[in-house]
């Protein structure tokens, strides 16, 4: 079983990206040997109300059982608790908020309330550090990358919240992990999509210093080629147990708490 915890459906506003339909995503999963994907509505990230993409996302998940919906929750909107409740009713494995893209303080009161509510509801909160390399973003795409300090603040803001942080690189992960208590660090999971392999061997280093239990398979597809995650794992000398944990078991632990 291989689970991609970091996938999207729907078009990207800043450039043409092939393979954004649910059918194309499933085909890419078949091509790369992925059994299940946790999926968010990509254009919604950039909408004034990102939750307006959730209905279509849920419909996609109903039509494609291998796609598990990760609905967006915007804690700055008055209806956010209803959105969270709907996500729970849909048995979402996580909910997502991308505060810098919503234009809200990534560690402000609204995000802390959302973190607390996710902790209370026992559902992970997913956040992306970035979607594209900062050097290639569209000139009008000004949203800041998620600061590491915000992740530290959110994990400290509620003793129950579990965070899934995607698109983070090695320095970001190290800063947050070693800037947290062991108990806090044990409530954070990192997807591998932005972590370098050989010859810099960032992923191998992190697996040695932080441990395999904190890492989950994520691709960032279709914005990024899903082949990258598999290639990265194939270049490691992982035990079968560690590989299975990264590919599936850790995602299950993240989801089930």
């Amino acid at each position: 079983m291989r689970v991609d915890v970091n996938a999207f459906v729907g078009s990207y506003p800043y450039r043409r990206v092939p393979g954004t339909s649910p059918e194309a995503l499933v085909a890419a999963m078949d091509r790369t040997g992925l059994d299940q994907a946790w999926v968010t509505h990509l254009p919604g990230v950039f909408w004034r109300d990102p939750t307006e993409g959730n209905a279509w996302l849920l419909e996609c998940a109903r039509r494609h059982p291998r796609l598990l919906p990760v609905p967006a929750v915007h804690p700055g909107l008055a209806t956010w608790r209803d959105t969270l409740r709907q996500a729970l009713e849909a048995k979402a494995p996580a909910v997502r908020a991308d505060p810098t893209f919503y234009g809200i303080d990534p560690a402000g009161a609204a995000m802390r309330q959302l973190a607390a509510a996710c902790g209370e509801a026992d559902v992970p909160l997913a956040l992306a550090v970035r979607f594209e390399d900062g050097r290639q973003r569209h000139p009008n795409d000004h949203a800041a990358e998620l600061p590491a300090a915000a992740v530290r603040a959110l994990i400290r803001s509620d003793a129950r919240v579990r965070l899934l942080v995607t698109h983070a690189d090695r320095p970001f992960i190290e800063e947050v992990h070693f800037g947290s208590t062991p108990a806090e660090a044990a409530r954070m999971w990192w997807d591998i999509c932005w972590i370098w392999g050989p010859p810099e061997d960032h992923l191998q280093t992190l697996l040695g210093t932080i441990g395999s239990a904190r890492f989950v398979l994520g691709t960032g597809q279709p914005l990024r080629l899903p082949e990258n995650a598999g290639a990265k794992l194939d270049l490691l000398d992982l035990s079968a147990g560690d590989r299975a944990a990264i590919e599936c078991g850790n995602a299950r632990a993240l989801r089930d708490g």
């Binding site: 450039r15 043409r16 990206v17 092939p18 393979g19 091509r31 594209e132 390399d133 050097r135 290639q136 000139p139 370098w196 392999g197 050989p198 010859p199 810099e200 061997d201 597809q221 279709p222 914005l223 990024r224 080629l225 082949e227 990258n228 598999g230 290639a231 990265k232 194939d234 270049l235």
Partner: protein
């Protein structure tokens, strides 16, 4: 056969204490991926004694000597680009001649001088005379100057390539950060510029855009600093291209760019 046209190694005078581990990691990962030949450069002292992108002639020489030694230690796996700083014209021309005579197979220009500067012309004339390609570091759509390098973008490399149609240029790391959508249209009308697919970027749609812009005939495979992204692109191309076209990207196009005796016979 699989040729990585964009690799780097480190040496004992670089700031990295782990330089040997990084070099070993590149070679061992290459074995796993199936890389037949790493065509590599070393950019001076990587900042230890002079800036990475503005290396002193002494640092250039030491790095090239180290790479030549590495090439001799791994004759089946490693080939070298002679890296030079074109601001030191006489030294650069002498270093190119010395290193090509010693077995290197191409020239690496990084970001010491803008690509369209006339100072690069004598280097290009020498490349033409010796029949070797130039791998040129490119910032895909440079919108401003960045500290530590006088980077060029595709428009500037294109100006150089137009002045030297007999020289084959490799536009470095299309996936290496920056707006590759800016670079590709510029290359359509420049048949002597090849697109090096290396870089950490694995953007969906990038390979399709490369194929659309320059065709399979002008794509060459590489990794640069991240071997897993090179492998990912290769795996995707296996899905995208028929086998004969895939072979072109894997090595045949590279074999046509470098001197005839640069690689083992097919």
């Amino acid at each position: 056969m699989l040729i990585d046209v964009h690799a780097h190694f480190l040496h004992d005078r670089t700031p990295r204490a782990d330089w040997q581990a990084r070099n070993a990691s590149r070679l061992s990962a290459g074995e796993r991926v199936g890389i037949s030949i790493h065509i590599a450069s070393i950019l001076g002292s990587w900042g230890a004694a002079s800036p990475t992108y503005f290396p002193s002639p002494a640092d250039v020489r030491y790095a090239n000597d180290f790479l030549l030694a590495l090439q001799h230690r791994h004759p089946a796996r490693v080939r070298g680009y002679v890296a030079v700083n074109p601001n030191y014209t006489d030294e650069a021309l002498g270093e190119i001649t010395r290193c090509l005579d010693a077995g290197m197979i191409g020239i690496k220009l990084a970001a010491s001088r803008r690509a369209d500067d006339p100072l690069l012309d004598p280097i290009c004339r020498l490349a033409a005379e010796r029949g070797v390609p130039i791998l040129h570091h490119v910032w895909q759509h440079r919108r401003r100057d960045y500290p530590g390098q006088e980077a060029s973008d595709a428009r500037e490399l294109g100006a150089l390539a137009a002045r030297h149609p007999e020289v084959r240029f490799l536009l470095a790391h299309i996936g290496g950060g920056g707006d590759w959508l800016h670079s590709l249209p510029i290359l359509r009308s420049l048949p002597n510029v090849f697109v090096d697919l290396s870089g950490s970027g694995v953007d969906g749609g990038m390979l399709e855009a490369c194929l659309d812009a320059v065709g399979v005939e002008r794509l060459v495979w590489g990794c640069d600093l991240t071997i897993e992204t090179g492998w990912a692109k290769l795996r995707y191309l296996e899905h995208l291209l028929p086998s004969d076209e895939l072979e072109r990207v894997r090595w045949r196009n590279a074999a046509g760019i470098f001197p005839p005796d640069a690689f083992p016979a097919d």
